[in-house]
């Protein structure tokens, strides 16, 4: 089973309110990623977990937080949503040391901030 699941599929949030997105995988992948995808743009890597170690991209360091309570689950947390956070959020997982760089993606969560 190469399924990555994301919840919810659609999220409506108010400006200034927190947002929490969930991702899960059962492939025993050690690395999980979160991307932000806006129309007509490339997916933008926000952060990734290698095992229990969180790595956040420099230009989004303060905007997103994440947690990984166990190998299968990973969340993306926005403390105070702004209009600019409206986007598709994609979760992916991989096991780069064993299988190279192939990433498996979930269906995405479409976040709309009003």
């Amino acid at each position: 089973d190469t399924t990555v699941k994301q919840n919810p599929r659609y999220k409506l949030a108010r400006v200034g309110k927190p947002v929490n997105l969930i991702c899960s995988q059962t492939m025993n992948h050690d690395t999980m990623y979160w991307y932000q995808k806006k129309p007509n743009q490339a997916p933008k890597l926000l952060l990734f977990y290698y095992d229990k170690i969180l790595n956040r991209e420099a230009d989004t360091f303060e905007k997103f937080q994440s947690s990984r309570p166990n190998n299968s689950f990973c969340s993306l947390y926005i403390g105070s949503a702004g209009l600019e956070y409206s986007a598709m959020y994609l979760c992916a997982s991989s096991r780069p040391r064993d299988w190279g760089y192939e990433q498996y993606f979930g269906p995405g969560t479409r976040l709309t901030v009003l």
Binding site: A42, P43, S94, P96, R97, G100, Q103, F105, R110
Partner: protein, 115 residues
Amino acid sequence: AQSVTQPDARVTVSEGASLQLRCKYSSSVTPYLFWYVQYPRQGLQLLLKYYSGDPVVQGVNGFEAEFSKSNSSFHLRKASVHWSDSAVYFCAPPRTGGLSGKLTFGEGTQVTVIS
């Protein structure tokens, strides 16, 4: 750092016609290379991958891609497109350095298949 260029933002092609999407990457090191596809309202799906060996790799749904080290390219093609091939296609080589598995995505090519 690795960079990738997909020079065609949008391509319109007739059903049954051939399709070629271009991808060029910057690294001088032969990397792994991937093509991903995003269908409307869905996440990204792996179309095909190149690790080593035969420069022509086969993917799903009749797609293939050809790696060229001399041209630093990894072009995608399909002999005869179907309306269901309408989607956005992303070329993705890994970022150089480290074992994080991070990919660098091109900006994508929007393919529209018309009847």
